[in-house]
Point group: C2
DNA sequence: TAATATATTAGCTATTTAGCTAAGTACTAG
DNA sequence: CTAGTACTTAGCTAAATAGCTAATATATTA
């Protein structure tokens, strides 16, 4: 379960346009590092994802992108694994699943409470 | 539909602990201003919600709370209505509903893509 | 009409954030 | 073992943020 501090970290991570776009890139782009394309005969998804591949999609320096990725990692929005030279990045879908559940619960509880409220009103008439 | 800029505003609004707690207060506490308790014979929900009632729950100045509420309003996370002297606040459940849908779509698409990936693998064998 | 209650605006400060470049670490390949 | 690749760390600056108090606006009530 995500506690409050964790949720706040997630919202903070997603509250900056650059990080939001990195997040989007990682969740919709795939999981393979475009740098690997340089290896002969290897067919890979050309969209994502190691740090420098993500950086290719932005007009910011590599250290800037690296810092953003670190923040997304600490918010547990992405997963990161170092393999040799490279850092491979993939979505942390479980966090997003939990977040979806949290918001859905909020909506459901709200609807139930509203129903309760009106039921009560009817009973009184 | 929430566009990117709107989503970023929402995440930013919820990325500060004070605002997150105000948000929580408003969504779980009810819709009636505790200041109204001062009116004789009026039974009201004692938890929320006009600006000074919200402020009662925090050790921050009224202007600070007012500014936070403004930011939550601009993120369309709450609805605000001035009645006479007071500003009444209530949850904007539609925004939360849309947010829940966004995250759920992300999860569903991810699951579908993963299924696609494995189906493909099987077909090739 | 004056006093009170509710909320916002203005103007301030300390802290945090997001960007940068330069330098350092760690691995790979020639 | 040297050169190159991938990434992170350190240290910097400008801008944004979160808090405050004082002043202002507006509505209510005595």
């Amino acid at each position: 379960m995500l506690d409050m501090e964790q949720k706040i970290k997630i919202f903070k991570a997603l509250s900056n346009k650059t990080r939001f776009l990195i997040f989007k890139n990682i969740f919709t782009g795939g999981y393979t590092c475009s740098v690997d394309k340089k290896q002969a005969g290897v067919e890979v998804n050309p969209i994502a994802t190691c740090v420098s591949t993500v950086a290719e999609h932005f007009n910011f320096s590599l250290p800037t992108i690296s810092a953003h990725i670190k923040e997304l990692k600490e918010a547990q929005v992405i997963l990161v694994e170092k393999k040799g030279n490279k850092v491979y990045i993939e979505p942390n879908i479980e966090t997003i699943r939990e977040l979806a559940e949290c918001f859905q619960t909020l909506v459901t509880n709200f609807d139930n409470n509203r129903e309760l409220f009106f039921t009560d009103t009817v009973a009184v008439k």
